[in-house]
Amino acid sequence: MNSGIPVQYFLILATVMFFTGIYGFLTRRNLITILMSVELILNSVNINFLAFNRYLYPHKLEGMFFSLFIIAVAASEAAVVIAIIINIYRRFTTINVEDVNEMKF
C-alpha cells in the first residue's frame, strides 16, 4: 500500500509538527494562537497513532479510535478554552497571555 514510505517518516513528520506546536505554545502571545498550537500538538499525535495503526498493527483499530476520541476531546476542550478566553477578554480587555498574570511568586 504505502510500502514506499517507511513509518519513521510519518513519525518524524509528527514529531516536527508536535514540537512546532510546542514552540508556538511557548512563544505566541495571543491566547487564541496558543490554542491553535495545542491543536497542532494534538494533530501530530493523531498522525502518530494512525501511522502506527496502519503500518504496524492493522489487525486492531485502537490507533484509529484513539485518534477519533482525541479529536472529540480536542473539540470540547477548544469549546471550553474559547469560552474562558472570551471571559478573559471581558475581564482583562486583552487576550495577551503576558498580561494575564495577576498572580505570581
Binding site: N2, F18, G24, N43, F69, I82
Partner: protein, 178 residues
C-alpha cells in the same frame, strides 16, 4: 505516487505549521492552521482512513477552526498585528523545541519497529460502526459513552463560563477584587 503525495502533504503540514506559530497576523494564522488540518486529512486519506479524514475535515477544519475564527473576531481586530515576542523567549523556546525534537527523532530512529503478523482488518464503515458499539475486546462502546458525558460537561462548562450576566451585586468585599 504515494511518496509524492506524502512529500506534498508533509511539506504543507510542516510549512503551514511553522507559519501558524510564527505569523504575526492572527487571522492568517488561523487560515494556516486550516491548511495544516486539511493537509493532515489528506494524509489520513493516504493511510486509508477515509472516515477519520472526513471527521478531521468536518470536525476539525470545519468546527474548531470556525470556532477559533469566531472568537478571533470577537476579541481582536482582523488586521491587528502583534508585536513579536521577545527574542529571548523565542530563542529559548526554539532551543527547547529543537532539543526535544532531536531527542525524539534520535530515539525513534534508534528503535526497530516490527509489524504484527496478524491479518489486517479492512477498515470500512461497517467495521467502524461495529467496533464502536462492541462491548468486547477491541470494542469502543465504553469510551463512546464516556465521551458523551464529556461533551455534555464541556457544553455546560462553556455555558457557565461564557454566560453573560450583568454583574449585579458582587457579594465579595473589595479586598478580594485585587
Amino acid at each position: 505516487m504515494a511518496s509524492i503525495m506524502f512529500i506534498l502533504f508533509s511539506a504543507m503540514i510542516i510549512v503551514f505549521s511553522i507559519l501558524t506559530v510564527t505569523s504575526r497576523k492572527i487571522l492568517r494564522a488561523a487560515v494556516y492552521l486550516l491548511f495544516v488540518l486539511v493537509s493532515t486529512s489528506g494524509l489520513y486519506f493516504m493511510l486509508n482512513y477515509q472516515f477519520l479524514a472526513a471527521v478531521q475535515l468536518t470536525l476539525y477544519a470545519g468546527g474548531i477552526v470556525v470556532l477559533i475564527i469566531f472568537s478571533i473576531l470577537l476579541t481582536s481586530h482582523i488586521s491587528q498585528k502583534f508585536e513579536s515576542s521577545g527574542w529571548k523567549k523565542n530563542i529559548f523556546s526554539a532551543i527547547a523545541a529543537i532539543t526535544g525534537a532531536i531527542l525524539s527523532i534520535i530515539t525513534i530512529l534508534d528503535y526497530r519497529f516490527s509489524a504484527t503478523n496478524e491479518a489486517a482488518k479492512e477498515v470500512n464503515m461497517r467495521l467502524i460502526g461495529k467496533s464502536l458499539l462492541s462491548v468486547d475486546y477491541d470494542g469502543y462502546v465504553l469510551p463512546f459513552e464516556v465521551i458523551s458525558v464529556l461533551l455534555l460537561a464541556a457544553m455546560v462548562a462553556a455555558i457557565v463560563v461564557a454566560k453573560k450576566g450583568a454583574p449585579k451585586t458582587i457579594g465579595l468585599p473589595k479586598i478580594n477584587q485585587e
